[in-house]
């Protein structure tokens, strides 16, 4: 009985939090969902001005998710859950430590690189393989190293 009460309270609290945090929006690919948080205002605004946000048939050429999450179904939802939990944790407990300007993590950089290659494989297949490890064993060249402002006016 006692146990059940706790479970119900937690479910209710979780439900309310989910509603308050606009939880459903995170199941979509809509970039506006990323901008639920004010800390995303800058990057969202600059993405809106970039070539990738141009809409074709009502859909942007590349949304946040298209570049920042894996494309495969299982990997994508694992990454989404992972980001969701860590973001919720940061906003709840580390809000005062958040820097003004964010830096991409290693994981995020890898996902972005994979997505550049995924969409632009026709182009990059005929140029030097930018992911070659021969000359850049420790810090391989990434697309955004040179094309820093493709997604946002400011590269990360």
């Amino acid at each position: 009985m006692w146990f059940l009460v706790v479970v119900v309270i937690i479910i209710v609290a979780a439900g309310y939090t989910f509603y308050n945090a606009k939880g459903m929006s995170y199941f979509s690919d809509d970039s506006a969902a990323c901008n639920n948080c004010h800390v995303m205002n800058d990057v969202y605004a600059s993405w809106r001005k970039s070539a990738h946000s141009r809409e074709i048939n009502g859909k942007p050429i590349a949304s946040c998710n298209d570049c920042h999450l894996p494309n495969e179904f299982v990997d994508k939802w694992i990454a989404k859950a992972q980001s969701g939990v860590s973001h919720a944790y940061a906003f709840t407990f580390k809000l005062d430590d958040l820097p003004q300007n964010f830096t991409a993590t290693k994981m995020s950089k890898n996902m972005v690189q994979a997505n550049c290659v995924r969409c632009h494989s026709q182009m990059v297949s005929v140029v030097v393989n930018p992911t070659t490890k021969i000359n850049h064993a420790n810090e391989q060249l990434s697309c955004v190293k040179c094309h820093a402002s493709v997604g946002h006016t400011r590269g990360f």
Binding site: W2, F3, V6, I9, I10, A13, A14, Y16, T17, N20, A21, C37, H38, V39, N41, D42, A88, F91, T92, F93, L95, L98, P99, Q100, N101, T103, A148, R154, G155, F156
Partner: protein, 618 residues
């Protein structure tokens, strides 16, 4: 047991939910632009420039501005806001500035909020203290010094200075005595005349820079209020005046020009005319004497007291001028422009020097804080970066971004200041800044040590020449004759030291424009060593076959450390409200963390910096 664990876990999860919801709700509640829109509680006007009043409409900005009042002092490698004695860290300055009050008191600065407090406290503004320390000839600071130290400056210029035209009021304001002008700061609503608040930094007589100095009331548009900058920009640098914003300029330019109101080299130019200004009746009270027995012409206190009243007097007029005549619009500043300006006949005949060097007798120039000039030649300036971009970087306040009004070193928040443009890691960026500053510090120390060496050698030469009959008049050494022989050397001392002083007074250890800083430091080093070469030639000419030039290093210089400032004689410090009696030997500053020594780490850094110990520094 298991149940208890589950219960604790459940409670933790629930607390997490509550906190997360709290954050989400507070974010949703924030209206757009929350930080930058007036709360419209009060009407802001130039009749009342107190930041405590304007701040009611902008509480977040006021909080940021006042951060420095309560935060612990911090040190960067070459700056920060710990107000340690620069003379203890760099004892060479006591020789470089010999004969000028800076040689007994020069502390690291500690932020806009404190600038008026610090100016009232400094021994350079304490006539009795200076009298008793061998600076009796120094006539006391003029109100011109307040141009950059008080948020009341414009109010006083418009309302307290005498004269009918803005020009007359401007010269009258500058020509009054500092302590006389300070007495005219009014007690506006909420402040009682001569109360502690009226003397304090929160809107009273010790209020530093205030909102109105850079912002138009109510629209909060950026503006230039300081007459000296408006004059320099319109007369020499191709700007048009503007009745509302001071000069016509883009917003991006304004984000630097508001800083250029004070962060520049300047001098007090004698106007050559008598001007009416405020005096004090104490001047005719023969009972009021300075420590050395001379008549007081002003009461060194911030209020009218003991029957002392304002009078009208006529004095020789002075005017705050930025020496920018040779500096064209959209051009980088070059140090040679100061040579040209200060050596022009029209300037040198009425302003030959800031002071005569006590040891070499050279006519010296003291450079103040020429950030605007140095920055103009930098790669950042070429790319349109303004002062505010780095020193007032955007910070998030709820849903909007606001400029940080705790104006400070970008090193305090490299992420906000640098990473808006630079994508490298904070560690990398910090290392770059350190590398630049350490290399400029090496150059600067080289120049300072070389200049002190030159000063030593000039003294040696003066003593030797003084012994020769041809340099004596009536059996005594004739300084004029000696200086005439040393003319070229003394000019090298003047110009070379001015360059080192420029980089030393400039608040970035060269970072604002590393190439220009090292270019002028190389010149300065050449000038110091060339001066020594000339001395060797003179020695040859007069047959001093054993004349040697000196080459001082870190250890020699450290022996000059003057320690913290102390009273030399028993003194009633009139500036204290209770006229506190101080015994000889008492520490001058009342606060421990002002005028103390820097952190030992900084001295260790200096020791390794010149000669450059790459094994430690890199």
């Amino acid at each position: 047991m298991k149940k208890a664990l589950l219960a604790i876990l459940a409670i933790i999860v629930l607390i997490g939910f509550v906190l997360f919801n709290k954050d989400i709700s507070s974010k949703k509640a924030q209206p757009d632009m929350a930080g930058a829109v007036s709360k419209d509680v009060v009407t802001m006007s130039d009749d009342d420039p107190r930041f405590n009043v304007w701040g009611k409409n902008f509480p977040e900005h006021m909080d940021m501005y006042q951060t420095v009042e309560t935060e612990a002092p911090f040190e960067t490698e070459f700056g920060g806001n710990h107000s340690y004695s620069k003379l203890i860290r760099y004892p060479q300055l006591t020789i470089l500035w010999a004969g000028y009050p800076f040689s007994i008191d020069a502390n690291e600065e500690r932020g806009h909020f404190w600038i008026q407090v610090d100016q009232m406290d400094t021994a350079r503004n304490n006539k009795d203290f200076l009298n008793s320390h061998g600076f009796a000839a120094f006539n006391g600071q003029p109100a011109a010094c307040m141009n950059c130290h008080s948020g009341w400056t414009k109010w006083l210029e418009n309302n307290a200075a005498l004269g009918d035209t803005p020009r007359e009021k401007w010269v009258s304001f500058n020509s009054a005595k500092y302590w006389t002008m300070v007495k005219n700061i009014p007690a506006l609503e909420g402040i009682t005349e001569n109360s502690p608040e009226h003397s304090g930094p929160h809107g009273g007589k010790r209020m530093g820079v205030a909102c109105a100095d850079c912002h138009v009331p109510n629209t909060m548009e950026l503006r230039v209020t300081r007459t000296a900058l408006i004059n320099a920009l319109t007369k020499w640098r191709g700007y048009e005046p503007d009745p509302v914003t001071g000069v016509k300029a883009t917003r991006s330019e304004m984000r630097s020009l508001v800083c250029a109101q004070c962060h520049v080299e300047y001098y007090f130019r004698p106007t050559g005319e008598k001007v009416k200004t405020i005096g004090e009746s104490i001047a005719s009270d023969t009972d009021k004497k300075w420590w050395n027995g001379t008549q007081k012409t002003y009461d060194e206190f911030d209020s009218w007291r003991d029957g002392n009243k304002a009078t009208e007097i006529e004095v020789a007029g002075i005017e705050l001028v930025f020496p920018w005549k040779q500096w064209g619009k959209n051009k980088p500043f070059r140090i040679e422009m100061f040579d040209e300006y200060y050596d022009e006949n029209v300037t040198r005949s009425i302003f030959p020097q800031d002071w005569a060097h006590k040891i070499t007798k050279a006519p010296m120039l003291k450079i103040q804080h020429p950030e605007t000039e140095l920055y103009s030649s930098s790669v950042h300036a070429a790319n349109g970066v303004s002062c505010a971009d780095c020193h007032m970087p955007y910070v998030r306040k709820g849903s909007s971004k606001v400029t940080n009004h705790n104006v400070t070193s970008p090193l305090k928040d490299i992420n906000a200041a640098c990473k808006s443009c630079h994508t490298q890691s904070e560690e990398y960026l910090k290392a770059q800044i350190q590398d630049i500053q350490r290399s400029i510090a090496f150059d600067l120390r080289s120049v300072e040590y070389a200049t002190v060496s030159l000063i030593n050698d000039i003294k040696n030469m003066r003593d030797r020449l003084a012994a020769l009959p041809e340099f004596q008049t009536d059996g005594k050494a004739d300084d004029k004759k000696i200086s005439a022989v040393l003319k070229e050397v003394l000019e090298l001392h003047r110009k070379g030291q001015m360059r080192g002083d420029f980089v030393g007074a400039e608040n970035s250890t060269g970072f604002h424009s590393p190439r220009e800083a090292s270019r002028m430091l190389l010149q300065a080093l050449e000038m110091a060593r060339m001066g020594q070469t000339k001395l060797a030639e003179i020695a040859l000419q007069y047959g001093f076959s054993d004349f040697k030039t000196s080459n001082l290093g870190f250890e020699d210089i450290q022996k000059l450390n003057p320690g913290e400032i102390r009273y030399k004689v028993d003194l009633n410090d009139a500036r204290q409200s209770t006229a506190k009696g101080h015994k000889a030997g008492d520490r001058y500053y009342e606060h421990d963390n002002i005028n103390d020594g820097p952190n030992a780490k900084l001295l260790e850094l200096d020791k390794n910096n010149k000669p450059y110990n790459h094994k430690v520094l890199d």
